[in-house]
């Protein structure tokens, strides 16, 4: 019996290995053919041109900028909202808002893309008076909204886990509640909040379906108001139609994205472990 359960436990490891091996095996041929430097540092992506070019530097930079932007907007708002839910709001109010925030996490990502395309994109176009509103900026806003639920719920859990005694001691020493929240509770919950940030990074860098509708998907070098292509959208836009070297190059993008995600997971794991221990 134990053997069966061991097998079940081992299968999670096996899945990770299979995914890793498959991505490496299918990602390497194109990198070998294109050349690692040309692939990672090439500034031009033209996969179906007569002389195809497979440079993913614009995609990598866009993913990094987009994720950073989403974190910059999403984390402060999400953290403040978590403080509100965990500490400030009356229980009943928090009890109403929390399930709605959870609901936000359950909306399929295409819907975010659709609302973004119909509301946000025209807004960006009118505000900045550009030819089209599909841009890095629109993607950042959509990503920021999409990572909010996980940031809110993870930071709220971390804030709630701070021992009551810390806060009471701070209040007894004459600190106001607001000071206590930001100078005692938040530092005490910092590894949990850091985990929330890393989780947000993971979500943002991996999102494809929503930003595909608002990013414009032209592989320009990233700038705030131009049409851009992310690593994820680079795969999703062409995956269904691809063939030959182009298809293999998409798997190589998948491999690069996977490496990014693995780094983020390792960091997340470190934070979570520290959270458990301390």
């Amino acid at each position: 019996m134990q053997l069966i359960f061991f097998f079940c436990g081992f299968i999670a490891i096996a899945f990770v290995l299979v995914i890793t091996v498959y991505l490496i095996l299918s990602g390497l041929p194109a990198i070998r053919e294109i050349g690692l430097a040309d692939f990672l540092l090439g500034r031009e992506w033209a996969s179906t041109a007569k002389e195809p070019k497979f440079g993913i530097l614009p995609l990598i930079l866009t993913s990094i900028y987009g994720t950073a932007g989403a974190i910059l907007i999403g984390v402060p708002i999400g953290f403040l909202m978590a403080v509100f839910l965990a500490k400030v709001a009356p229980r009943r109010v928090a009890g109403v808002i929390r399930p709605v925030v959870d609901l936000l996490a359950g909306i399929p990502s295409i819907v975010y893309g659709l609302v973004g395309l119909m509301v946000l994109v025209p807004f960006v176009r009118k505000t900045f008076n550009t030819a089209a509103g599909e841009s890095l900026l629109a993607s950042i806003v959509v990503l920021a909204v999409m990572i909010l639920p996980s940031i809110i719920s993870v930071s709220e859990t971390a804030l709630n886990a701070v021992p009551r005694a810390y806060e009471e001691a701070s209040l007894a020493l004459g600190a106001t509640e607001i000071e206590t929240y930001f100078r005692v509770s938040a530092p005490a919950a910092k590894s949990g909040i850091a985990a929330a940030v890393v989780l947000g990074v993971g979500r943002a860098i991996g999102e494809a379906m929503a930003i595909m509708m608002v990013a414009g998907n032209v592989a320009n070098m990233p700038s705030l108001l131009s049409s851009v292509r992310f690593l994820t959208t680079g795969i999703a836009v062409e995956l269904a139609y691809s063939s030959g070297l182009q298809r293999q190059a998409l798997f190589s993008i998948g491999l690069v994205l996977f490496l990014f995600i693995m780094c983020i997971n390792v960091i997340l794991n470190v934070f979570l472990k520290r959270d458990k221990e301390g």
């Binding site: 033209a46 996969s47 179906t48 041109a49 007569k50 659709l114 395309l117 119909m118 994109v121 025209p122 176009r125 550009t130 030819a131 089209a132 509103g133 599909e134 595909m212 509708m213 414009g216 998907n217 032209v218 049409s227 999703a236 836009v237 062409e238 269904a240 139609y241 691809s242 063939s243 182009q246």
Partner: protein, 296 residues
């Protein structure tokens, strides 16, 4: 007491799940074998002739979704035991997959290239589709020549005022690199590999959504998918319609192709489906899907 009954019931359900799970995994290991025998072959003991059974897998152009849906529906009435599956993955992958033998019939929304034909792909045209040039309803332009369209798409003309419209930059919207619509459009207009796109989209829906929300935008989309939210321009003075596509006076049009492989025998169900789709009987379905039948 109540809780215990619930727990018992749920654990019973779980046990069933476990058993079924074993069954499930067993099935999985057998499946490669099951997959390689085509289901059509397994079931073909049923009397041959008019009553066929089995599965026809088709894969390819997303633009052909409506046509295929109509075909699936009507063919289901003619041959109730035949299941026609359709996956919209794009013309390129449809052709690749049929050549690789993973599907019965590939679907392409552009004419086959010479290389594809050299690899053994056979072109069976089942419908004609106009590619509409669409702009926002606020745009005052109603008519462009093919030449002007080419200049917009290769970046020579960048402002609507150069064409007599408002003084606004042109947002050039197109499809992703391997789309059949894009392939057909760029070939007909003569701008292959020269396009300067503001935005590239993965699907017709996004192109129409984007153009509908942006007065500066121009895009192209399958005529059958165009609705009131955008305006379809006249090209060389000819408005796109089923009649103008059928008589060829509307220039920007492309064939919908069912791709088969030369020299390989289709399963009876797939052959029957192809024969029917190529016949005049299927013309109503082609029309219902907003396209023009070449076989009517």
């Amino acid at each position: 007491m109540k809780k215990r009954t619930l727990a018992l019931m749920l654990s019973a359900a779980l046990c069933v799940g476990l058993l079924a799970g074993c069954g499930g995994t067993a099935d999985t290991t057998q499946s490669p074998a099951a997959g390689s025998n085509s289901p059509a072959a397994e079931q073909s003991q049923t009397p041959a002739g008019t009553e066929l059974s089995g599965t026809v897998n088709t894969d390819g152009s997303t633009s052909m979704a409506d046509v295929m849906a109509a075909f699936q529906e009507s063919f289901g009435d003619i041959q109730p035991d035949v299941t026609v599956n359709y996956s919209g993955t794009g013309s390129g992958s449809g052709i690749t997959n049929v050549l690789a033998g993973t599907v019965d019939i590939g679907l392409s929304s552009r004419a086959l290239t010479d290389e594809e034909k050299a690899e053994g792909a056979v072109e069976n045209i089942v419908a004609l589709d106009g590619v509409a040039i669409v702009v926002n309803p606020e745009n005052t332009i109603t008519d462009l020549t093919v030449e002007q369209i080419a200049q917009i798409y290769n970046g020579t003309i960048t402002n609507w005022s150069e064409l007599g419209g408002a003084d606004a930059p042109i947002a050039v919207i197109g499809r992703d690199a391997a789309s059949g619509t894009r392939g057909a459009f760029e070939e007909i207009v003569g701008v292959e590999d020269q396009c300067v796109y503001t935005n590239e989209y993965e699907s017709t829906g996004e192109v129409i959504g984007s153009v509908a929300g942006n007065p500066n935008a121009i895009g192209y989309a399958s005529l059958s998918a165009v609705d009131d939210s955008v305006t379809a321009l006249k090209v060389n003075g000819v408005a796109p319609s089923e009649a103008t596509v059928a008589d060829g006076s509307y220039e920007i049009q492309r064939p919908f192709v069912m791709v088969t492989v030369e020299g390989s025998q289709l399963a009876p169900a797939a052959q029957a489906f192809l024969d029917w789709a190529m016949s005049a009987d299927a013309a109503d379905e082609v029309t219902a899907a907003g396209c023009v039948s070449p076989n009517a």
